[in-house]
Symmetry: C2
């Protein structure tokens, strides 16, 4: 746990706001004592709703390391990750996450993080965005192709 | 609800596996009768753990429409979205999601989707990836900068 990495992330988040690039969030991927990659929220400037700070830092760290996994790395993020970013953190197999503000602080500032955590735990039929099953048997064909493909790279 | 869009998505997912580009998943963003963008899972070929089919389709649709929101669009995806993709769907403000296979089908094929849904509902201290608070007061400075910045674009 290294406070200086978090202070750098907070400084990046403030700069990100003041330069009009996006929301007040930044994140660093750290391996040992080295910063592998930095990310800030670029949603509105990049027209990319997935361009949250953690996702940007993870993408860049994977590019830097030439890997789709970040085992052995930590993430320092200025705010508790939203469900999208938390999913990305698990898929990237990061070791640990350090965060400053919480989902409730984010909600107070007008962001949907806490709402999203609530939505995820609801039954599909109770969510505000309808999720509707369609052709479930067809979907199995894709998994069958996966099981049959000898060159598959698991992740 | 249009079965042909789902059939196209399934065909794309199978092609994605058989060409070695990634996992057995594909998604389409549809507006009215038109496909705005297509995405397939490129995690292992692009070294990007966030390159799930839904995320790719959302990113490309936003680029195509020049917007960070997809209000008025539907998503057709070959499998129930994982928490990362579900978060992306909410941030993108899609209208509806149609899916074929379920998170349990994905788990049977070796993917962590169901596990991730379980992790998200746990208290921070009980998760397999430790999430550790650090310098919470510092984090508030980024939100303060956001509240003070008159040019902010909310999302």
């Amino acid at each position: 746990m290294s406070p200086p990495f978090m202070r750098e992330a907070v400084a990046l988040a403030i700069e990100n706001v003041q330069t009009g690039r996006g929301g007040p969030f930044a994140a660093l991927v750290v391996k040992g004592n080295d910063v592998v990659a930095r990310g800030t929220n670029l949603v509105t400037s990049a027209n990319d709703p997935t361009a949250h700070a953690e996702v940007m830092a993870i993408r860049r760290a994977c590019t830097a390391l030439g890997s789709f996994q970040l085992t052995g790395c930590d993430l320092y993020t200025t705010c508790e990750p939203c469900p999208m970013c938390l999913g990305a953190i698990y898929w990237a197999r990061l070791d640990r996450v350090f965060f400053a503000s919480t989902r409730h602080d984010a909600a107070d500032a007008g962001f949907d993080d806490a709402f999203l955590y609530d939505e995820l735990t609801k039954a599909l039929a109770d969510r505000t965005i309808p999720m509707i099953p369609l052709l479930p048997t067809e979907g199995d064909r894709a998994f069958a192709a996966w099981r049959e493909y000898e060159g598959r790279v698991e992740y």
